[in-house]
């Protein structure tokens, strides 16, 4: 359990600092598989529920979403670099600071042992996902940031031991899948009308 959490955290940090899109998508897919193991390792309840949850997680997070993103990268012919508004050094420093903040916050909230590691790793992923969404320039990287944020919340929830009935959990996955799917469609459409996919350049709507 702890190994899985630490691996998730490391993959998250890799995505936060890497400047290349394809390796980031591969890390995202790897995170999906690890998250799929979580319910099997830790979730309360019957085995079929854990198996169902695990399969749904892997199907959505490590197959469907990375496929959508890879297709976007291929078809849109966007470059390999995921430009950021910040320099790599700043990103590393910020990510380190956010990781520290996440661990301190969890310690102050009196979470203990295994719980604390999972919750803190989850919060770290959430923070770094937010950072990616706000500082990355390309739409694909922003979507990756969004999925990292969702993964963080998922890990945080698993560590806090919150579980819902299977239909609700599946509903949550369906929502995430449709959200990324729609973002993918929008990326294609925006590409067609703008002939570029640089979010900096879309600012016709202003006050």
């Amino acid at each position: 359990m702890n190994t899985v959490t630490i691996l998730l955290l490391l993959l998250g940090l890799h995505m936060a600092v890497t400047e290349r899109i394809r390796p980031a998508i591969r890390s995202l897919a790897a995170q999906g598989i690890l998250l799929g193991l979580l319910p099997v390792l830790a979730a309360p309840g019957p085995a079929w529920r854990a198996a169902g949850l695990g399969l749904a997680t892997i199907a959505v997070k490590s197959v469907a979403i990375p496929l959508i993103l890879t297709r976007a990268v291929n078809r849109l012919e966007i470059g390999q670099e995921s430009e950021s508004l910040l320099s790599t050094k700043t990103v590393i420093l910020l990510t380190g600071g956010l990781t520290l903040a996440a661990f301190v916050a969890c310690a102050r909230f009196g979470l203990s042992g295994q719980d604390r590691l999972g919750a803190a790793a989850g919060l770290t992923l959430l923070f770094s996902g937010l950072l990616m969404m706000t500082t990355r320039v390309k739409a694909v990287s922003q979507v990756i940031g969004f999925v990292v944020l969702e993964n963080g919340i998922f890990l945080f929830g698993a560590a806090s031991g919150s579980g819902f009935t299977l239909p609700i959990e599946l509903g949550i996955f369906l929502d995430l899948f449709v959200a990324v799917f729609l973002m993918g469609i929008l990326m294609f459409k925006i590409q067609r009308t703008f002939t570029h996919m640089d979010v900096r350049k879309i600012h016709t709507l202003k006050d």
Partner: protein, 471 residues
Amino acid sequence: MIPLLLLAPLAGVILALLSRTPSQAALGTVVGAAGLLAGAVIQGMSPDIAAWSELLRLDELGSYFLLIVAGVHFLCSVYAYGYFRRELEGGHIGPAKVRMYHVWINLFVLSMVVVVCSHHLALQWVAVEATTLFSAPLIYLHGDRRGMEAAWKYLLICSVGIAFAFLGIIFLSRAAGDVPLTYTALPLAAKRLDPRFLRLAFLFFLVGYGTKMGLAPMHTWLPDAHSQAPAPASAMLSGVLLNCALLSILRVAPIVPGAYASPLLILFGILSIAVPALLVAVQRDIKRLLAFSSIENMGIVVLGLGFGGAARPAALLHVLNHSVAKVLLFLVAGDLILRFDTQKIRQIHGILRETPLRGVLLFGGILAITGSPPFGAFWSEFGILVGGIAGGHLAVSLAYLVLLAILFGSFLMYGSDMVFGEGVPRKLSGPELWCLLPACVLLLASLWLGLHVPAGLYKTLERLSTVVAFS
């Protein structure tokens, strides 16, 4: 009853998919909307709570919000029939896109029906996220760059907002221990919940669902999204979707201590009135103007809930008053945009001279939305002021009054510019009756709510305000 309520919009989806012409699709939506409205009225008159499984349950609070959704959806579906015929005749849109509009709008309504019927925190979350997903295609229906930009912002910002609300659910489930997260079980166990996690949960709910509700400073997506969607969809987004996000916050109120929640609500409320008060003065686009007014009105509702006491039923009444007036304004604005072929306020003038009915509708709508007598919003805004003063929030009440006066002035200025003055003759465009009829109904409804708040409604609101009171 609940399966029937879900079936009505689903029938609309199926009819739209089977339809051969845009008119058939529109008719399907009208049929589905009429069915939903009938179901909502029958359920609203019955004293029983409708329940379907553990997860879906329609109590009086849900019923009140459902009636608003169903009423607005019915009027908008009638309007959409005429609106899209005119858009088609004008060559602004293709028949395939009109059909897609009807598919998405019915799915969107379906997800809102699930929101109002949800009896479990997590199911409610799933449904609220679904409302975002089903309404995003409506925003970029026309397929132009502004629409896609607005939809991208909407999808990303609201999804992140909702993700925060999910964090709130995780905190709440930690606070609740083994108490199920249903709206009957939680209030019964309110005393046993861990207060630290409870406070954190409420904060995340407020920020998360507040993003979806358009509360400042998380409102940045709203003016874009609401101004880019086609008029009937804008009316639905402003008139009923914001209410659904509000309902999601109201649902957890009974377990949250008021001493913690009230200052937060007052802060977000007054901020959401102040930001539009500063920004409406520089608006050039009529639909953006209306979108900013939605932020303001959600602020008024949240402020009223924060004041508590007498302001609470007034805040619930304001939900209805805002929906009626705002939907009216979006419908009239959509008609004017087709007629003048522009969204720019400065290019629309002399409406009263050219077409007196539209002049009356627009000016009436502007008076109604700014809370002038004799329209309904006057009573709800006044009630919130009284509640604020009675609750001892003198400074905030004064600020509220000043900001409302500024907004009233700005809106009156825009309104008189558009309504009065020399008219520019425009050619008629398509069947206009279907666009004007729903707007007339809404103006009369707002007037009726202003001249006399029905005793039954008042009693209901009093009862509901005890349901949404903080612990």
